[in-house]
C-alpha cells in the first residue's frame, strides 16, 4: 500500500512553515500532493485507501541524529530490529546509528553491517555514524573516507570525548573534504571522572560525586575554537548547560558551522530527582539544575538548538539494578521522546507545535543534510500522525525496545503517536 489519502488532519511541515488543515496524498511511496481538505487531485486514482486523520497532527517522520542500537556486541541491551521498532513506536522514521557497537563502527564493513541489518529489519531508515577515532580511543583517526563509502553520514565517538585537541583538530579538517560533521560529546573527562550527577547544591546535599557544568562548557568552547580554526563542522550532542548554549548561540551568530541537539529528559527533569538515588535517572550529561533547563528551553525557542535527539541509550535491566555508582549512564528514550517534549515544551507554552516538530524533523535532517524531514511533494512519504489530545501511561514492560531503562515508567504523559508511514507504507498503527 504505497498510495494513501491522509484526510482531514492538521498538517505541520516546518520546511514550508505549513500549519493548516490539509489532506496529504501519497503515491508510489512519495508525497504526491498537500491540498485543501476534501480536494481530490485530478490525477488521483479511484479507490485510494483513506487514513482518517481528523483531530490528528500530520507531520514529517521524526529524525534522530544519534541512536545507540547496540548491535553487534551488546544485544542484551538492544539490536537493530528492536531499536528500529522502538524508533517507529516513538514516531521516528529516520535514525542515525551511533558508532558504539562492539566492535566499534570504525571501518567500512562495520558500517555496511548496520545498513544490512536495517534492511532486514524493514522498519525505519537507518544511517550509520562512523567513529571519529579508532576504537573510540581518541588517538588515531578512523578510516573516515572508507566509512563514508560504507554509508556513514557523520562521525562520532559516542560518549567518548575526543579529549586530545590535536586529534579533534585533524578530525574536523579531515571530515571537511567529505562535507560531514563531527558529532561530539563535549565533556572534559578529568572534570567528569567518576561523577554520577550534576555538581551543585543537590550533589553536595546527597554526597554524590558531581559533574560540573564547566566540564561541558570548557569542551564546547574548545570545539567552537577548533571549528573556527579548521572550517570544519562540529555538532555538539546533548548540550545540557546554560553557558554551552550561550557559547553556541554566539558562535552561530558569527557564522560558524556549529550546531547542537538536546535530549528530552534534560528539558523535563532536574537534578532534584536524584534524591531518589534511582539509577534510572543516571544519564550523561547528568540532569542539571533549573537554571540550565531554562536556558536549554530558551535555546530551543530561538533556534540555537536546532535538533532534539532522544539520546536513546538502552541498557539491560540487570545493569541498572545495581548501586548508583556501578550503574551505567543512559536512558531508553525513543518511545517517550515526543511525549516528554510535549510535557516540557508545549504544555507550558514554550514552543508551538510547528517549532517542536521542526526540532524533531527538519532541524536534525539539516545537520547531516539528509533527504528527509519534510512533506515536500516528491519526497519519500515518511509521515507520523500524532493525537495531541490523548494521554498514555508509560509501561516500560511494553516497550518495543529490548531495554526498559526509563525514568518515566508509570507516568501519564501527553500525546500519542498513532500511525507511522515509511515510504508510504504504514509501519505502525495504534
Amino acid at each position: 500500500m504505497s498510495e494513501v489519502w491522509i484526510r482531514g488532519g492538521r498538517v505541520l511541515d516546518p520546511a514550508s512553515e505549513t500549519d493548516a488543515l490539509a489532506d496529504v496524498w501519497v503515491r508510489g511511496g512519495r508525497i504526491a500532493a498537500v491540498v485543501a481538505p476534501g480536494t481530490v487531485p485530478a490525477d488521483a486514482a479511484p479507490g485510494v485507501p483513506v487514513l482518517d486523520a481528523a483531530g490528528l497532527l500530520v507531520c514529517p517522520g521524526f529524525v534522530d541524529l544519534h541512536v545507540s542500537l547496540r548491535e553487534p556486541g551488546c544485544e542484551e541491551d538492544e539490536c537493530v530490529l528492536t531499536g528500529t521498532a522502538a524508533a517507529l513506536a516513538g514516531g521516528f522514521t529516520t535514525i542515525c546509528a551511533q558508532s558504539d557497537a562492539s566492535p566499534v563502527v570504525d571501518n567500512r564493513s562495520a558500517a555496511e553491517f548496520i545498513r544490512l541489518q536495517a534492511e532486514r529489519a524493514r522498519q525505519c531508515r537507518v544511517y550509520p555514524l562512523g567513529a571519529v577515532t579508532k576504537q573510540h580511543r581518541g588517538e588515531e583517526l578512523a578510516e573516515i573516507g572508507q566509512l563514508v563509502q560504507g554509508g556513514a553520514v557523520g562521525f562520532s565517538d559516542a560518549m567518548h570525548p575526543v579529549a586530545n585537541a590535536e586529534v579533534m583538530r585533524r578530525a574536523l579538517e579531515y571530515t571537511r573534504m567529505f562535507r560531514r560533521p563531527v558529532l561530539h560529546f563535549a565533556m572534559v573527562p578529568e572534570l567528569a571522572e567518576q561523577g554520577v550527577m550534576h555538581e551543585g547544591f543537590q550533589s553536595t546535599r546527597l554526597g554524590l560525586r558531581g559533574i560540573p557544568a564547566a566540564a561541558q562548557d570548557i569542551m564546547t568552547g574548545r570545539d567552537i575554537a577548533l571549528a573556527e580554526l579548521t572550517g570544519g563542522r562540529v555538532h555538539l550532542m546533548c548540550v545540557s548547560t546554560r553557558d554551552s548554549v550561550a557559547r553556541i548561540r554566539q558562535a552561530r551568530a558569527t557564522g560558524l558551522a556549529v550546531s547542537c541537539d538536546v535530549a528530552p529528559h534534560h528539558l523535563l527533569l532536574t537534578d532534584e530527582v536524584m534524591d531518589r538515588f534511582d539509577p534510572m535517572y543516571k544519564c550523561n550529561p547528568p540532569l542539571r539544575s533549573r537554571e540550565h533547563v531554562d536556558a536549554l528551553i530558551a535555546g530551543l525557542r530561538d533556534g540555537t538548538i536546532s535538533a532534539i535527539s532522544a539520546d536513546h541509550q538502552p541498557r539491560a535491566q540487570e545493569k541498572k539494578q545495581v548501586e548508583l555508582d556501578q550503574a551505567p549512564f543512559g536512558i531508553c528514550g525513543l518511545e517517550t521522546a515526543l511525549s516528554v517534549c510535549v510535557q516540557a515544551l508545549i504544555r507550558p507554552g514554550h514552543l508551538t507545535w510547528l517549532q517542536l516538530i521542526a526540532r524533531l524533523t527538519r532541524g536534525p535532517a539539516d545537520v547531516l543534510g539528509l533527504p528527509c524531514g519534510t512533506l515536500e511533494v516528491g519526497q519519500p512519504a515518511d509521515i507520523t500522525l500524532i493525537d495531541p489530545q490523548a494521554e498514555w501511561t508509560v509501561d516500560a514492560g511494553r516497550f518495543a525496545s529490548r531495554s526498559r531503562n526509563t525514568p518515566f515508567d508509570g507516568q501519564t504523559l501527553p500525546a500519542v503517536v498513532k500511525t507511522v508511514l515509511v515510504d508510504g507504507v504504514v509501519r505502525l498503527s495504534r
Binding site: 571522572e193 546527597l206 554526597g207 554524590l208 539494578q321 548501586e323 548508583l324 556501578q326
Partner: protein, 348 residues
C-alpha cells in the same frame, strides 16, 4: 553466600541463648516514647523532624537508665533477627550495632561483602531480596555508594537502618554526636558547633548538620576550601576556612576524620599542612573556651585531626561518643522494630 550467613546466624543464636536468662523485660509495646516516630526506615537525619530527633535522644536516655549505662540486657527485641549487611569494611560501627542488637535480646546475623555485589555477578537488589527471604526483621546497611540503603528500602519489607552510605549520611553517628553534646550541655538549641575537616566527603558532617540545625544549634563548617563546598550554606550552616578565627565562639568542635580513601586526587598539599591549619592541638585548646567539648567520630588519625594530648585531655569526649553510640543504636533499633511489629499486624 547463603551458607555463610546461615552458619554465622547459628553461632550467634547459641551465644545469645546461653545468656538469655539474665534479660530484663521491656516489651516493644511499652517502649517509653517522649514524642512522635512513625518511620519504618532510618535512612538519614535530613528526613526527620526536630520532634522525631528528640524522641530518639530521649529514648536513648531512658535506655541508659534502664540498662545502667548499657551494661544490662533487655528483652525488647527478643525473637527478632537483625542482619548486619556491610558492603564496606567497618569494625567499630558493626560491633556497635551487633552489641546494641544483642543488648536488646535480638538475634544477629552478619553478612559481609567486602566489595560490591556486582563483582559476585549478583545485582544489589537480588542480594537484598536473598537476605530478606531468610526472614530478617531489620537490616543494618553500610555501603560505599550513597543511596544504597534507600534502594534497599524500596525493595524490602524489613526495616532498613543506614549505617553509613558513602559520602551521604550516617544517621546514628550524627545522633550519637548530638546525644553526647546534649548529655554534657543539657541542650542543643543555642549552642555553636563547629564541624572541622573534610566536609565534602563526610557522611558524618551531613548527618550532624541536619540534626543540629533542626534542633536549633548554630553550625559552622570549617576546613580546606577544596573540601568545603560553599553550596553547603543552603543547608543552613556557616562556612569558615580559618579555624583560629572561629574557635573562640565555639562550644563544641567535631573533628572529622580526613577521608584519605574517599578522595579523588589531592585536595590539600600535605598532611603536615592540614594538621598545621586544621589540627586541634594544645595551643588551640588554650585559645578556646575552657569548657570546649572536643568530639571526633573516629577512627582518629592522631597527629592529624588532633594531637594525642588533646585526644586524651579533659576536653575530649571521644570515648563517651563510643558508649553513647551503643545507646543510640539501641534506641533506633527499638523504634524501627516497633514500626515493624505495628506494620505486620502484631506478628513477629
Amino acid at each position: 553466600m547463603a551458607g555463610q550467613a546461615g552458619s554465622v546466624s547459628r553461632a550467634d543464636r547459641l551465644e545469645v541463648s546461653g545468656e538469655r536468662s539474665g534479660l530484663r523485660v521491656m516489651q516493644l509495646s511499652e517502649l517509653p516514647l517522649s514524642g512522635p516516630w512513625g518511620e519504618r526506615h532510618l535512612l538519614g537525619l535530613e528526613r526527620l523532624t526536630a520532634a522525631q530527633l528528640t524522641t530518639v535522644l530521649d529514648l536513648a536516655e531512658e535506655l541508659e537508665r534502664a540498662t545502667a549505662g548499657g551494661l544490662e540486657r533487655l528483652s525488647t527485641l527478643k525473637g527478632l533477627v537483625v542482619a548486619n549487611l556491610f558492603f564496606e569494611n567497618s569494625t567499630r560501627t558493626r560491633t556497635s550495632f551487633s552489641l546494641a542488637a544483642r543488648r536488646l535480646g535480638a538475634d544477629t546475623v552478619d553478612f559481609s561483602a567486602s566489595s560490591s555485589s556486582l563483582s559476585k555477578g549478583e545485582t544489589f537488589i537480588d542480594t537484598a531480596l536473598t537476605i530478606e527471604a531468610m526472614g530478617v526483621d531489620l537490616v543494618v546497611c553500610r555501603h560505599k555508594t550513597p543511596g544504597a540503603p534507600h534502594l534497599l528500602s524500596r525493595h524490602l519489607r524489613a526495616g532498613v537502618l543506614n549505617a553509613g552510605d558513602g559520602t551521604h549520611e550516617h544517621p546514628t553517628q550524627g545522633l550519637l554526636d548530638i546525644y553526647t553534646i546534649r548529655r554534657h550541655r543539657g541542650r542543643i538549641a543555642g549552642l555553636t558547633v563547629a564541624l572541622v575537616g573534610d566536609i565534602r566527603h563526610s557522611r558524618v558532617a551531613r548527618s550532624n548538620i541536619h540534626g543540629l540545625v533542626k534542633l536549633g544549634a548554630r553550625v559552622i563548617v570549617c576546613g580546606p576550601s577544596t573540601l568545603v563546598p560553599t553550596e553547603i550554606r543552603q543547608l543552613g550552616v556557616e562556612v569558615a576556612w580559618n579555624l583560629d578565627e572561629i574557635l573562640p565562639e565555639v562550644d563544641c568542635v567535631n573533628l572529622l576524620r580526613v577521608q584519605f580513601e574517599r578522595q579523588r586526587g589531592a585536595f590539600f598539599p600535605s598532611i603536615a599542612e592540614y594538621a598545621e591549619l586544621f589540627g586541634m592541638n594544645a595551643e588551640r585548646i588554650r585559645r578556646a573556651r575552657k569548657d570546649l567539648l572536643v568530639l571526633a567520630p573516629g577512627p582518629i588519625n592522631r597527629g592529624v585531626e588532633l594531637t594525642p594530648d588533646v585526644a586524651d585531655g579533659p576536653n575530649s569526649v571521644i570515648l563517651d561518643q563510643v558508649s553513647n553510640g551503643l545507646l543510640i543504636r539501641m534506641a533506633c533499633l527499638s523504634l524501627l522494630a516497633r514500626e515493624r511489629r505495628a506494620g505486620s499486624g502484631g506478628a513477629a
